[in-house]
Symmetry: C2
Subunit: 221 residues, 2 copies
């Protein structure tokens, strides 16, 4: 059955964070990759830990805090200007090269296209606007004050898109996000650009793709 | 006020996982540190993700799954014998050198000493037995089927030790665990052996120590 709604993760799935890595490298030559990795790792850890502690904070705050942490851990000097520039970059990430044409192919009269993201509105709204990609809905976990992969997050898509879980196709490059959505009841495709092993969370995706460009063909099967 | 109960995290706080790193290095020369790091990272990620998904699995299962993941990610061959040996090592970790004497000093007639761990009984019970350290209670998250830093975990100590949160002193080398306990209401000491920055989770520990040997003096203040 063709999904009535297709729901996409944003960071790393539709939008390439590589420009942020490049900016880190330009600020701290030789440290860009290591800094970006630590920044991303803490950013995610804190979404999970704050969710479990029931101490939600917006993703913009967590992202900024994680940048400060990563710089401190690596003994890199961070000033307001650099921090501001990096946070600004997050609002203007480029979509992956295959995203625009894939979304064009996937658009259909009886199908909604939506984003479901950890990103808070202050981050995701300027990003979607700058990309000029069009979606029927941009849903943020900020509405439910808990992060992925909590079921309340995927439930938000069910409510807002007025579709049953089994009618929703979910697409993420984060394996744990895809499996959280699968555990909730969506049909899921994991975009595994880096050839990573499958996370052992008790579920498997319905399909594993190398990039978003393969999704239209996978859906047609 | 002197705490009526002192509750300790196990892995990395009382028990040194370095012997597991050494075993990894002996099995895969040159890869021990990288493998141990990836193994530990996935082990923790999955505790948080499974908790949020409400798909609990015992820590022994997650630890074994994470070992397989880390070996696959690094293209290292893992057989049953090596996996079994590494899981066995986890049941016989050495306490840090300062643990035995610190616990001796901390023991007092009106004070319980306890462990509160992510470890499932099949892992933590043989470990405590092999160490010959003595505790009034060994509490596992397995009873509540959710991992740290969920408040249900710290609540377990309150119930089982029959003490109010403010009467409990909690000690962990994992900053997020210490801050989860602080968010719940314990007095907490973070054992920061590696000189890491503080996690930005909205709380601060009551004290930061270089090792467990400093705890008796910190409590006496």
């Amino acid at each position: 059955m063709s999904p009535r709604a297709l729901v996409f993760d944003a960071y790393g799935t539709l939008f390439d964070v590589h420009s942020v890595v490049q900016r880190c490298e330009s600020f701290w030559p030789g440290e860009g990759a290591r800094l970006s990795q630590q920044w991303r790792a803490k950013q995610l850890e804190w979404t999970w830990q704050r969710s479990l502690m029931r101490r939600y904070a917006p993703f913009s705050r967590i992202t900024r805090d994680a940048l400060e942490y990563a710089c401190a851990a690596l003994h890199l000097a961070l000033d307001e200007e650099r921090a501001g520039r990096l946070m600004q970059d997050y609002k203007a990430l480029a979509p992956y090269p295959d995203v625009r044409s894939a979304l064009g192919e996937l658009r259909a009269p009886a199908r909604s296209l939506a984003i479901l993201t950890n990103g808070s509105p202050d981050m995701i709204e300027p990003l979607v606007a700058s990309s000029r990609l069009e979606f029927d809905a941009v849903l943020s976990v900020d509405e439910v004050k808990v992060f992925k992969p909590a079921p309340e997050v995927y439930e938000l898509a069910v409510k807002r898109l007025r579709a049953e879980p089994a009618e929703i196709g979910f697409v993420s490059s984060n394996c744990w996000d895809a499996l959280g959505a699968k555990s909730f009841g969506f049909r899921v495709w994991w975009i595994n650009r880096g050839g990573a092993p499958l996370d052992a969370l008790g579920f498997e995706p319905d399909g594993i793709l190398d990039g978003l460009g393969q999704l239209p063909a996978a859906l047609a099967q």
